[in-house]
Amino acid sequence: MKGFTHFISGIAVASFFPQAVHMASQEQSFILCLGGVFGILPDTLDFKFARYFHTSDFEVRPDPNDLDARIIARTVAESMEKAVKDGRSTVQLHTMQLGSNLWRSYTLGFDSKTNEVVVELGPLVDTGQVPFEGTEPKDPEKLSARVKVSAPFFQEFDKKSNIAIMSGPCFEFVRRDDGRLEIVFLPWHRTWSHSVTLGIVISLLVALVSYLVVPEGPNPAMYTVPRWLLYPLIVFLGSLVHIVEDSTGFMGNNLFWPFTKDRTSGLGFMSAAEAIPNFFFVWTSIVCILFNLDRFRWAPDQVAAGIPHPETFFFWFYAVPVAVMAYFFLKGKHEKDARKAERKEVDFDSPTASERETDASIV
């Protein structure tokens, strides 16, 4: 899911605590923002920290002056063979920057039908990934390569990766019990940072601090949750909603790291990069936030409700928009399935939506 989706969902979760809403409106507290910050935090940890400290067994650094797709394909295949032997192996692919706004692109695919690693050298592109026509390498021998791997493999995303700008992707190959290799895209993503365990640990630390420093607020009898407990609860639920949202996609999360070693596959309801699912979560969050801010307004006897008829509000602002979203989502899914059935084969011709993505957090 998009970073914004997680962020606003975190705020929505925080708004379910009446005391937090009262603290915001009466004491100028930023406590509701805490839900948003911890909602986006798992991706922040991955893309701003974890990615840099992940080391790979193999690295592909293509030489722009001696381009050869065979060398790239062989290195990736070598990493896969190591996984066949040792159980696990990782490979990091690097980009080729030729100028401040000029890059050489190449693609990597895994053809599970023929058990081959497929590499194709592409054209020069600018940082916006706009290709310069006719700049593909000329030598047909080196332009593309297919290298066979001894073990069969499978992956969640049956698409090729377009490696062009900024940092290249990383793959992990894991030998499963049936002897097949699983190809794991971005092995450093959605692991420890997206675990319930980390959420609990951080909330316990926050609870310890807040228990010591947060005084009891005014009118404690009004609330069921003591004020010091509010902070760890918002922190935990903010990160939990991130994990739950990500679990609706394909990649999944490593829910109980370090007790579980690998990511659990997602439910596969939707792709994290799709517009309608993202907007569904965003809209649901907005509706919840507005409803909660209104129903938990301070002195409800003296201040008129912004939403005088909740049924009308939910009908016009939630049921109707969700029905429209559901219609377009199902229509799009149906058309996509029809296209897939028509094509029948793995698409090795176009980069996926996630490969074109500018918001790194959605992959």
């Binding site: 970073g3 100028q28 509701l32 840099y52 900024m166 517009a275 907007f279 918001d359």
Partner: protein, 448 residues
């Protein structure tokens, strides 16, 4: 029909003329490159004040409506070819620069124009809905605005992802390379914020030009760095193709308008949030990817932001004053009824039509200009117009503020960080002041 009858009633016909004059004025000011909407409003205010006595309240409103609608549609053209003047424009200019580099600048401008017209049409359609929805929305959000702005700040800072491309064997080297860009973004935001606190508490601008106190800040943060970049840029603008049709379908059109409308409305409704910020958030909320979608959606977002914030003022009983124009007309519009609201919507639509008609010839004229005159020279000329203007309005104090702001404004340009971070100049002081921490920060900075 009743709206048309109301607008074409002989009593109201003069408003159409004033609307058109406003559009023509916007054509002139849009051509001044690298000016922020607040600078434009300052110039507009100075001119209007000279003629205010000879105008009725609604005539001034018509003039303002024509100006803001025209400016929101037409200012994309000089921004595309000569450089952006504010944060809302700079959000759009980097993607549009790719289109210009491919010779498709004309198409990019027309796409934003289509987006703008779509946004204004949606604004007109939503006008009756606003009467029903906005009073409730205002009463719910009013006590919470400060944290909503802080949430926007948090998201802007947390959603910038590393751009480092270091391929070193050392993980720490890669880490520092990635964080170089993020750190510059954070530094830019906080330096801008400190500058905002200083300018808002102890401005160096002479009192008689106090309404222009923000001018040198925005000229320094946005205009001058962009002009410097243009001047030192070694590239040339390729021949620009004037397309006869747009690569656009209904699906893309509706998605672009919808996303842009959400972003523009959010920016119009929440104080200090601009179209660039609203556009970024709406783009992420609706998972936009297609560059056509982005460009068109930007046109919608920017227009809905500029015009929508003015429109909020006319909603009877709402009393929501957002943006400089609303403050300009506040003293002359005594009562706001459904008639004024309907007239505003009518004038907005007249201005939309007139501005869109002007968009294509105006774009062609700008293309001729950049093909005929080297854009480096245009940037030099813009620089020589802007600097004396800042001095004239704000004196040496303004020049000093502008110089400091230019230093901060160059940071994201040099390190390829988000220019949006420069909006810390308004976001940080306003959010902290609204939350009641403003004086503490001023004391910490030794300003109180």
């Amino acid at each position: 029909m009743s709206l048309l009858n109301l607008l074409l009633h002989p009593e109201a016909l003069d408003l159409v003329y004033f609307t058109i004059i406003g559009v023509l004025f916007s054509l002139f000011v849009s051509f001044l490159p690298a000016l922020h909407i607040y600078n434009i409003l300052g110039i507009f205010l100075m001119i209007v004040l000279k003629f205010e006595a000879g105008m009725s309240g609604m005539q001034l409103v018509a003039l303002c409506t024509g100006m803001v609608v025209g400016y929101s549609i037409l200012n994309t053209v000089p921004a595309t070819y000569f450089g952006p003047g504010d944060e809302s424009l700079s959000y759009y200019v980097l993607p549009s620069a790719h289109w210009v580099a491919m010779g498709r600048g004309y198409e990019s401008v027309i796409l934003t124009g289509v987006g703008a017209v779509g946004g204004l049409a949606l604004l007109a359609i939503s006008a009756p809905v606003f009467l029903w929805v906005l009073p409730g929305l205002k009463s719910i959000t009013s006590p919470h605005m400060f944290w909503i702005i802080m949430a926007v700040i948090s998201y802007i800072l947390m959603s910038e992802w590393p751009k480092g491309v270091s391929q070193s064997k050392s993980t720490w080297a890669n880490f520092f390379e990635g964080w170089k860009f993020l750190s510059v973004g954070l530094l830019t935001f906080f330096l801008s914020g400190v500058l905002g606190f200083i300018v808002m508490s102890k401005t160096l601008v002479p009192l008689e030009f106090a309404f222009q106190s923000i001018t040198p800040v925005f000229v320094g943060l946005y205009a001058i760095p962009w002009l410097i970049t243009n001047i030192i840029n070694a590239g040339t603008i390729p021949h620009q193709h004037e397309c006869r049709s747009l690569d656009l379908d209904w699906d893309l059109f509706s998605r672009g308008i919808f996303g842009g409308f959400l972003g523009g409305f959010f920016a119009a409704f929440v104080p200090i949030v601009t179209a660039g910020i609203g556009g970024l958030m709406a783009g992420h909320a609706t998972a936009q990817r297609d560059s056509r979608l982005f460009v068109m959606s930007y046109g919608t977002c920017k227009t809905v932001y500029y015009v929508g914030s003015f429109m909020l003022f006319f909603i009877p009983g709402l009393s929501l004053t957002r943006g400089g124009l609303a403050w300009i007309v506040t003293p002359v519009v005594a009562t706001l009824t459904m008639k004024e609201y309907a007239l505003f919507v009518g004038m907005m639509l007249v201005a939309t039509g007139a501005s869109f008609l002007l968009l294509m010839p105006f774009t062609r004229a700008c293309i001729r200009l950049v093909e005929w005159v080297d854009y480096h020279l245009i940037s030099w000329v813009a620089m020589f117009i802007t600097l004396p203007m800042v001095y004239y309005f704000t004196g040496w104090g303004g020049i000093a503020i502008m110089t400091v702001a230019t230093g901060i404004g160059l940071l994201p340009v040099l390190f390829q960080a988000r220019r949006m971070n420069l909006m810390g100049v308004l976001l940080l002081p306003v959010a902290l002041n609204m939350a009641g921490y403003g004086n503490d920060v001023l004391r910490l900075l030794g300003l109180l």
